[in-house]
């Protein structure tokens, strides 16, 4: 099947408006006869469910958590971008579009990104109307901050809990529809397969996680908004339950999976402390507005710090290497995430890591305390303030901005970040790759849509900070509700989809057999045993820097673990009860396939771009020496993989990327 992105013709700034004017609509009376399933209730799924229900469709929404409000969008900290230009610093729809395409290292689809930038301003209006308490200045207007990879302040925020507040906004919109009976909410349910009838997605098989019951749900369209697959690494900033099962199941039933190797390793996370570690915690990128990243210049100081003979605060300015400011003077500490992560790895690989594991760098707020403190002293008319007073005043400002993050850090690390610099190290955070979708957000299965982090469309090879929330809400509130109508317009006479058909029987049988296998297999190893093994291979060989040999090894090693898994897995308990081990087993089984495709994709893409760094493809000399080297001639395409049984047999389909409105350039932040 040839990939058709269905991008409308015409100038980029008119595409979306013209398209919306021409697509088919479903009249309100007919919407009442159409059912839509939404899997996942984060920013994308939650906002889509609420909006589709408002429009009049009958929505069934599914979440594995006990409430839609607990989806992992809740943990997003820093903010959400929008081209409002409230700060008058030269922002515009075009500039947000440009920054996002450049930030994604020219591997995203122009038309999708432009549309994202176009609707971004509406998101802020919408959320304020819903009562989202964004930060404000003293005049009562909305405040902004700056994020990596851009030169304007366009990020709206609610302290360090922006994702929480936006999700609670979408959740409140859902609650309004649940109360009206327009959304039927299925908490503690997990989608285990999609049901295809006459080539169209017409329902799902789900498991009730409390009773273990297998349920059939039919609909005229299925929307998957189930998030990313970062947990393929075992350790990531994702929630423990975050999984790729819904996305992987639709892949196995015909949806192409695009660019799995594009993964974001976030530069500012709390370093790991031991083998028992279950997850990693992010420290928001917004901290890089005020924090400066450094390691000691001299190896003697590194050793002294590791052995506890010196404290970081003992080192004078000229004994410190602010390596981001040194290497990237134009963007400094606010380079994009992929660049910042690789730079941290480079210093730590060279031996300059500042903790016992050698995998940590400092994020230091001392100069922010001083800068804000002096400003506050002026505002409050304090003459000749002491250094302590300045520090105190400055700390109060930093606390107001990032207090919850500082508290979180202190609770985990047991060090006071107001007194000593934070230690940070990169960790897996977000996956730009995902299910391939066209301009309508429809997958290669008719009637099956994919939104938010679960799809591949908007971030190319690297996502800029504060763009995930923007994309999730844009897809759910403003894009999908229009485009899905064009498809559903043909379904007004279809009537209810029956679930007592062969297609549902077959899908349910497949799901039940797999569950029965798990609970009956007489293996010896726990799910976590396999998950940790997979994670280690992914991190070591498919992590921040990759090479052909490592990737080839990773593919065969993952295959071997998968075979061992299916022989030796042990699941206690039964299928007809709440059984967390059983839930994990299904998810890890899918990760064991996805991981191999991930490595295969990374092996195929022998260029470096965004978060995907191939050691073979770096600049060898000149001012950009050591930086990633993209290869536009051979790789300016989306790699969409078709499932053929074994992940290694997946077939590659290419969607060529055209850049008509932005000139392809080397991405320089120097």
């Amino acid at each position: 099947m040839a990939l058709d992105s269905k991008v409308p013709k015409g100038p980029i700034k008119d595409k979306w408006t013209d398209y919306k004017n021409k697509i088919d609509l479903v009249n309100p009376a007919n919407k009442r006869h159409i059912d839509v399933i939404v899997v996942g209730t984060g920013l994308a799924g939650g906002s889509a469910a609420a909006t589709l229900a408002e429009l009049g469709y009958n929505v069934k929404a599914f979440a594995y958590q006990d409430s839609p409000r607990r989806a992992h969008s809740i943990a997003a900290q820093g903010g959400i971008n929008a081209a409002k230009n409230y700060q008058g610093d030269g922002d515009s729809t075009y500039r947000l579009f440009y920054d996002t395409v450049k930030g994604g290292d020219y591997r995203s689809r122009e038309a999708n990104v432009y549309r994202l930038a176009e609707v971004s301003a509406n998101i802020i209006d919408q959320c304020v109307a819903q009562g989202v308490p964004f930060a404000r200045d003293y005049g009562g207007l909305l405040d902004n901050r700056s994020f990596g990879g851009v030169l304007v302040s366009r990020t709206f925020y609610a302290k360090g809990q922006t994702g929480q507040q936006l999700l609670l906004g979408a959740y409140s919109a859902m609650n309004r529809q649940i109360a009206r009976g327009k959304i039927e909410m299925f908490n503690r349910h997990e989608m285990l397969d999609v049901v295809i009838v006459d080539g169209k997605a017409r329902g799902i098989i789900a498991r009730n996680l409390i009773t273990g019951e297998i349920e059939r749900h039919s609909a005229h369209a299925v929307v998957v908004g189930s998030g990313g697959y970062g947990n393929v690494y075992f350790l990531s900033t994702n929630a423990m339950g975050s999984n790729a099962t819904a996305a992987w199941k639709i892949h196995k039933k015909g949806a192409y999976f695009a660019n799995p190797c594009y993964t974001q390793i976030h530069p500012t996370c709390i370093p790991r402390s031991g083998d028992y570690q279950s997850k990693l915690t992010l420290m928001s990128e917004s901290l890089r507005n005020d924090g400066r990243i450094w390691v000691p210049k001299n190896m003697e100081d590194v050793m002294a710090i590791r052995e506890g003979r010196k404290k970081p605060t003992d080192l004078s300015e000229d004994e410190r290497d602010y390596y981001l400011e040194r290497r990237y003077p134009a963007f400094g500490n606010l380079v994009p995430r992929d660049v910042a992560s690789r730079a941290a790895k480079e210093r730590c690989d060279a031996g300059y890591g500042v903790n016992a594991t050698g995998e940590a760098v400092y994020l230091d707020f001392a100069s922010a305390f001083e800068r804000y403190g002096k400003e506050q002293a002026k505002i409050h008319n304090i003459k000749n303030p002491t250094a302590e007073k300045i520090y105190e005043l400055g700390q109060a400002i930093v606390e107001a901005k990032y207090g919850n993050l500082f508290q979180m850090y202190e609770k985990i690390v047991d060090q006071n970040p107001y007194k000593t610099p934070m230690m940070i190290y990169p960790a897996v955070h977000y996956t730009m790759g995902g299910v391939w979708v066209d301009y309508n957000l429809m997958t290669t299965i008719p009637g099956c849509y994919c939104i938010g982090e679960a799809n591949f469309s908007d971030h190319g090879a690297n996502r800029l900070g504060a763009s995930a929330l923007m994309q999730g809400l844009a897809d759910g509130y403003f894009v999908l509700p229009y485009t899905i109508g064009d498809y559903l317009a043909d379904d007004i006479r279809t009537g209810k989809i029956p679930t007592d058909t062969k297609e549902f029987d077959d899908a349910e049988k497949e799901v039940t057999e797999r569950i029965n296998f798990f609970v009956n297999n007489k293996g010896t190893k726990s799910v976590d045993y396999f998950h940790k093994k997979l994670g280690k291979i992914m991190w070591d060989k498919v992590g921040m820097s990759r090479n052909a040999q490592g990737l080839t090894e990773a593919m065969s090693e993952i295959k071997a673990i998968r075979e061992e898994f299916w022989k030796d897995i042990y699941i206690p308990g039964t299928a007809d009860e709440m059984n967390p081990e059983l839930e994990k087993a299904g998810r890890v089984a899918d990760f064991l396939e996805l991981g191999e495709l991930f490595a295969k994709d990374a092996l195929m893409r022998s260029e470096s771009c965004g978060g995907h760094f191939r050691e073979e493809s770096a600049e060898l000399d000149g001012p950009q020496k050591g930086e990633a080297k993209r290869n536009d001639e051979d790789f300016a395409f989306v790699a969409a993989w078709e499932y053929k049984g074994e992940p290694a047999d997946a077939v590659l389909h290419k969607e060529e990327l055209e850049f008509k409105d932005i000139e392809l350039k080397q991405r320089s932040y120097k």
Partner: protein
Amino acid sequence: MNLTLKIWRQKDSKAKGQMVDYKVTEISEHMSFLEMMDVLNEQLVNSGEEPVAFDHDCREGICGMCSMYINGEAHGPDRGITTCQLHMRMFNDGDTITIEPFRAAAFPVIKDLVVDRMAFERIQQAGGYISVNTSGNTQDANNIPISKHAADEAMDAATCIGCGACVASCKNSSAMLFVGAKVSQYALLPQGQVEAADRVQNMVAQMDLEGFGNCTNTGACEVECPKGISLENIARMNREYLSASLKG
């Protein structure tokens, strides 16, 4: 460190539960409490026993899923954190730790330490929203100036994670801190004023229907709340409720 754990085990909502003793060894002080539970569960799985079911997800204190009652306190002995952020450095070698589910008539136990908090969902559905369509055709966000003070206060109320620690800590199993926080968030913002009277009445009515107790101003909820939601929110809800009732 080596620890003895006394954990509530209950097969399902209908079964009779009981406290069961377990031993864990070589627990690092840097582990989180849930990582210690992971160690126990791995141990149980490897010896062919059923692991302890407990709710957890984000493990960074924001999703509100985790819900253990540890040594008689919701989310354990530390302050301003959820169970997932509790670290073993709060305990000593040789300690016995008692771990129970959040207990309240309105939060029935599903299994072991997992409880059903659907009552919170129904309260939110009764009015925890502003009735605005998600069309995006609202006015420009900056057309509604909101004083920084009101916005900050609304934000403080909005940080509630809906975990239910307030209910578990209250001798009356009252949900007034939870409901008060949601009512306050909207009451403090101009966007929420239009429906304020209906909202507070509907949410309080649902709260009563769910079987949560009343508030007797003990303040345990505020102390145990991982997000430091203030008792002022209960006072504000009471004012809102009174004025809504007087308006009829």
